[in-house]
């Protein structure tokens, strides 16, 4: 068994919260720059330039790129040979989120109850997804997720007869209806398969990929390309002002499913697609 200390987890999670919000990934900045080459709208180009400048200010001064520093979504891959000492794993994650959101001057955006709506004051609880994997390391990914883009997400329990055309129609239609609200250019996570609760997780997990990476399965590589082209024909453009660059990427996660089902979920992410990973 490998021992991982409670306090090391707290400190690591705190740093991941701050870094993910302030250090926009090179993949995103490259995508903005590539977008500038294809964007036809002058306003659209100006938006992309502002987003590049924004990312630079954020990185240089370690201030969040967006004021909505989101829900702290935490993905854990816990090696079966890992033992947490000095406290409980989930307590350490939440203590890390509270510390990171305080020390990093990040906005606290969580209410303790969906109807009574009192702010918890420290951005906890984190929304934690855990996988047990072979090995003796603990992999932690923090992916803060803003509310504006999350509100534009949707699940549809499609049936097999809908086929790829049905999925394509649903995804493109979801983006069309979202218009400017999720802060385009967006990144689109698509979950296909599994069941009702699994498919939403797949769509969220898809958003962890870096822009520029390709799906390991050539079949889905093609599907991702096709969806991205369709979405970029909508004309929504940067910030919805009209233009070519509506989405920077489409990522698909597929999973086995029931013979009667073809669940599909669309999780939309804004251009501030934040995620940072550490391994203990």
């Amino acid at each position: 068994m490998k021992e991982v200390k409670y306090q090391d987890i707290v400190n690591t999670v705190a740093k991941l919260c701050i870094d993910s919000n302030c250090l926009i990934g090179d993949d995103i900045i490259n995508a903005f720059q590539n977008g500038l080459k294809v964007e036809e709208s002058p306003t659209g180009k100006d938006i992309l330039k502002q987003l590049i400048e924004n990312a630079e200010i954020s990185r240089n001064e370690m201030i969040p790129a967006c004021q909505d520093t989101g829900v702290a979504v935490v993905f854990l891959q816990v090696g079966s040979g890992v033992k947490v000492v000095g406290g409980e794993l989930f307590d350490a994650i939440n203590a890390g989120v509270a510390k990171g959101y305080k020390d990093g001057y990040l906005r606290k955006s969580i209410v303790s109850d969906p109807l009574r709506r009192k702010n918890t004051g420290d951005n906890t609880p984190a929304f934690i997804h855990t996988e047990i994997v072979p090995g003796d390391s603990l992999k932690i990914t923090v992916a803060p997720k803003g509310g504006g883009s999350e509100n534009m997400s949707e699940i549809k329990m499609l049936t097999p007869a809908a086929g790829w055309e049905g999925i394509k129609k649903f995804v493109v239609d979801r983006v069309m209806r979202s218009k400017a609200n999720p802060c385009p250019p967006i990144i689109v996570g698509v979950g296909i398969g599994g069941n009702f609760e699994k498919v939403a997780y797949l769509a969220k997990k898809a958003l962890l990929r870096d822009i520029g990476t390709v799906h390991p399965d050539p079949f889905y590589q093609e599907k991702e390309k096709e969806l991205l082209e369709e979405i970029n024909k909508t004309g929504i453009g940067p910030q919805g002002f009209g233009g070519r660059v509506t989405a920077l990427a489409v990522f698909i996660e597929a999973y086995p499913c029931h013979i009667a089902s073809m669940p599909t979920a669309v999780n939309i992410n804004c251009h501030a697609a934040r995620h940072k990973t550490a391994v203990l």
Binding site: A65, Q67, A180, G235, I236
Partner: protein, 182 residues
Amino acid sequence: MKKITTPLTEAAVKDLKAGDSVLITGIIYTGRDAAHKRLTDVLKANQPLPVDLKGQIIYYVGPAPAKPGYPIGPAGPTTSERMDPYTPALLAYGMKGMIGKGNRTPNVIEALKKYTGVYFAAVGGAAALIAKRIKKCETVAYDDLGPEAVMKLTVEDFPVVVVNDCYGNDLYEEGMKKYRKV
């Protein structure tokens, strides 16, 4: 690029067209869901507003905390449609402009025509850049609402784009149509 200063006159609003890039200098006020509810309740009761919004612009924003030495934290726009139920009453009172992001409902677009108002969008997610254009920030009403309190912001060259002008034009609709390839 057009430059305007606040408060806005009727003539200044009439000069703005959907699609214009604009830099705003002067005072703007913040307000989100909870503040809007209170402001419109006050108007309904024929009481005076805690800040005079005649000719003014409201910015829909909930900033992140300010780091020491900064006047304000990152401060990008939030989604405007949540404020739509309250907006016509404020426009009727004399508020002239709003800054946010995302589409407005038809009743807001109608009210902009009727009362000569304008809706601007700031760049969602460009919060660090936008904060650089905010020079001063003070809470002026509803302190108890925390980040949702009404704040008075002194801004210089605050970058926005006109989405809905007072003539019924809508950049979101027209821009999308222009670049659509389906």
